[in-house]
Amino acid sequence: MKKNRLAEKNALFRNQWFFLLVVEIGLAIVTGIVNPRFFTTSNLMNILEQVAVLGIVSSGMTLLIISGEIDISVGANIGLSSCVMAMMMKAMRFSFLPVAVGILLAVGNSFLVGITSRGFKAPSFITSLAFISVFQGIALAITKGSFQTIYGQFETIGMTRVAQILPLSFIISIGAYLFVHFLLSQTKLGRRIYSVGSNPQAAYLSGISVAHTKLTAFFLNGLFVGIATMVLLSRIGAAQPSTGTGLELRAIGAVVIGGTPLSGGKGRIIGTLFGVFLMGIISNTLNMLRVNPYFQEVTFGLLIIASLAVSVLSSYGKTR
């Protein structure tokens, strides 16, 4: 009976991301039939490359959402950090220090969102909303709105293909997923992140520092944003204040589609992984089918709303 129950539960869990996988394969087949170029190695690798940055950002977002917080300023954070990185590289003709400073800046920004939210007892949704315009404003001020190009200077991470095939950026994103998976399933910090997301008061009365745990989640989120900035800058070779805009919505969407509810305390990184893939495949499919890019934005928005509907319906089924 005990085994039965476990098996049943595993099957149930498998269904969640299994469902996403089925949708993804279905989409791929349809696109492949309409446009056979979809299944070429170069296109598939292209998809992996495109979802790398989103995957890294979504990994951090998964931690944050499970802890019961959110950061919608990650896109603006990437914009500011990438401008600073690029400007320093241009000035220094040297890449290690700018990358380090850029990552630290991203960490600091995310931390600031967390600190203000805790300190002023405001939801992080609101503080991060405010910080979007702070980050974008600073980025516009320091760049005076201009493109910061660093072509040829910092291409290693973005251009390297391991074994001539696999993009290095994708491998970095896999590293991010694995790190978060390990953190959530094997460490005390992960356990605390779940507990403060599920019931902060119970966590507090059990001797867990809620503020400390949530700020750590913001810190890690910033770290992932910083790494994503580095990968993105290396791939594009240029930065501007609007770099990264819209990424927050896709990241939150990927997390939610992957089965992590915005209410916190639940969720797994594997869901996020397939959520990110779904985003990548849909984007690629729409390109292949030559859909107007403006409609692509519409599609992503609707997709996120659909995923919210699915999560509400599935919890409704459970409570009954």
Binding site: R5, T187, S195, N199, Q201, A202, L205, S206
Partner: protein, 499 residues
């Protein structure tokens, strides 16, 4: 009274309400005549609130009939109750602070000028003054509600109810926030209301008030009615006697544990407005009960001890050493465990499994940042076996268990480590009989291991049969500490309400 029959305002017939295993009300009947003050008394959890909520439509009874002004229903909606003239006067609720007295009276049914969308402030003002005058209330229609005292707020609520043509007023502990003068004023208002033919259901722990203002009294105990009496035909002593007194089966007979030295002591614990200078000591092997009415400061005392509320003043001593406790983290580190009252809100991790719920406080049993998943699993299985938690597996989600089993898991998380002081806040609230006995058994086992136990309880039998001594809380103070062997239920309830 036969001639009054047709004018009966309220008639509740054989009302029964069951929550899970708990019978909140059992075949209770209650009626109210115009111009009458009918009081409702009973201990915490006797069923007063449930009865009131049924009458105001907030709760649906399982059985019985509700008749208001001749119309009978199986169940009411809150809206129906209001239309039928039932109005409840709450402590603070339902008022908008930023609006004037007049605006608040007409909130939701504003008087309009010729243009239906414009509020006729003048007409409202005049009408409000009229109602206030008929009751001789010290209220000014143009004042902002935020400037009112709590007694004026209460008067405003009464005014509002009268404007809505309420025929039945429910007053739940109306004097708890009032001073002596204000109490007298309220009694005066109640007399005026009576003369206007309004029926009042008056709930209070203060029996003197009931004898001052009431016409009849109904006594509830454990969800059953102990009878309805004319105030002129009963004494305070008799009322108290009917509120308590249970047969021996309600009591748990526990093993006695030899007491050791004092292991835990608090001195002059103070939190402004909540707790005033509470001091007591607990010995090893002792179960120290904390009794008192809801709102007497019992839970606040334990939250102060546990560091969940910051202390204004006072000392906490553990094993002869002064404890510095500023957060639950400090308390846990110094050997204090708290099982809070509201397990859903304060203890359970919903959506997580039993392992995570059990291992919650034990993150530091093992060194390093990595979890020891196998050990956690074994520890959880041990707890499940030890406390006979009815579950399919340790990976079941906690909300899928019954109340009693949830409580066992919540308690179980504190059994893995050695704590010196265990605080149980209402340990058996919403718990079935079987689980209750297992929890009592466990508390005695802890006492036998030389732990000090503090137990808050609203259940008289629990308090009397489990505690060695009982600290009696009244209005934030510990007014007395008694040996539980030497007191009766009647003595306790008198001490709680102060008569």
């Amino acid at each position: 009274m036969a001639e009054k029959k047709e004018t009966l305002l309220v008639s509740l017939r054989n009302i029964t309400k069951v929550y899970g295993h708990h019978r909140a009300l059992h075949e209770v009947s209650f009626d109210l005549y115009p111009g009458e003050v009918h009081c409702l008394v009973g201990e915490n959890g006797a069923g007063k609130s449930t009865l009131i909520k049924i009458l105001s439509g907030a709760i649906t009874p399982d059985q019985g009939e509700i008749c208001i002004q001749g119309q009978c229903f199986r169940a009411l909606t809150p809206r129906q109750a209001i239309t039928l003239g039932v109005s409840t006067i709450y402590q603070d609720a339902e008022l908008v602070d930023s609006l004037t007295v007049a605006d608040n009276i007409f909130l939701g049914s504003e008087q309009s000028t010729r243009f239906s969308f414009i509020v006729d402030k003048k007409a409202q003002f005049v009408r409000a003054q009229e109602i206030i005058n008929t009751l001789h209330l010290p209220l000014e229609p143009s004042l902002l509600v935020e400037e009112l005292s709590s007694s004026q707020r209460q008067m405003l609520q009464i005014t509002k109810a009268l404007y809505r043509e309420a025929k039945i007023l429910i007053m739940d502990e109306p004097t708890s926030a009032l001073g002596l003068e204000e109490k007298r004023a309220l009694m005066e208002i109640i007399r005026t209301l009576k003369s206007q033919g309004i029926g009042i259901i008056y709930i209070s722990h203060y029996l003197e008030e009931i004898f001052e203002v009431g016409d009849r009294v109904t006594i509830l105990k454990d969800g059953t009615s102990m009878g309805t009496y004319r105030i002129s035909e009963i004494t305070i002593e008799e009322v108290v006697r009917k509120m308590v007194g249970r047969d021996a089966s309600a009591f748990f007979s526990r093993r006695l544990v030899p007491l050791g030295e004092v292991c835990f002591e608090v001195k002059n614990l103070t939190k402004k407005g909540l707790v005033e200078g509470v001091s007591f000591a607990v010995r090893r092997g002792e179960i120290f009960g904390l009794g008192g009415l809801v709102g007497s400061g019992r839970s606040e005392v334990v939250h102060l001890i546990f560091g969940a509320l910051p202390l204004d003043q006072g000392e906490i001593w553990l094993g002869g050493k002064r404890g510095m406790i500023r957060s639950p983290q400090d308390a846990i580190r110094q050997g204090i465990a708290l099982i809070p009252e509201d397990r859903r809100k304060m203890a359970m991790l919903l959506g997580r499994d039993l392992v995570e719920n059990t291992a919650l406080v034990h993150n530091d049993i093992f060194r390093g940042p990595i979890l020891y998943r196998k050990e956690e699993m074994t520890m959880t299985q041990d707890i499940i076996r030890k406390l006979t938690v009815a579950t399919q597996s340790e990976t079941q989600l906690i909300e899928e268990l019954s109340g009693g089993n949830q409580q066992k898991v919540v308690i179980g998380r504190w059994l893995l480590d050695g704590y010196e002081v265990y605080i149980f806040d209402e340990p058996t609230k919403g718990v079935d009989i079987g689980a209750k006995e297992r929890i009592y058994e466990l508390m005695v086992e802890l006492a036998e291991q030389g732990k000090s136990i503090i137990m808050i309880s609203s259940s008289m039998p629990e308090l009397l049969s489990m505690s060695d001594r009982i600290g009696i809380m009244r209005q934030g103070r510990m007014v007395d500490i008694v040996e539980s062997k030497s007191v009766t239920e009647e003595y306790l309830i008198r001490a709680f309400i102060g008569v």
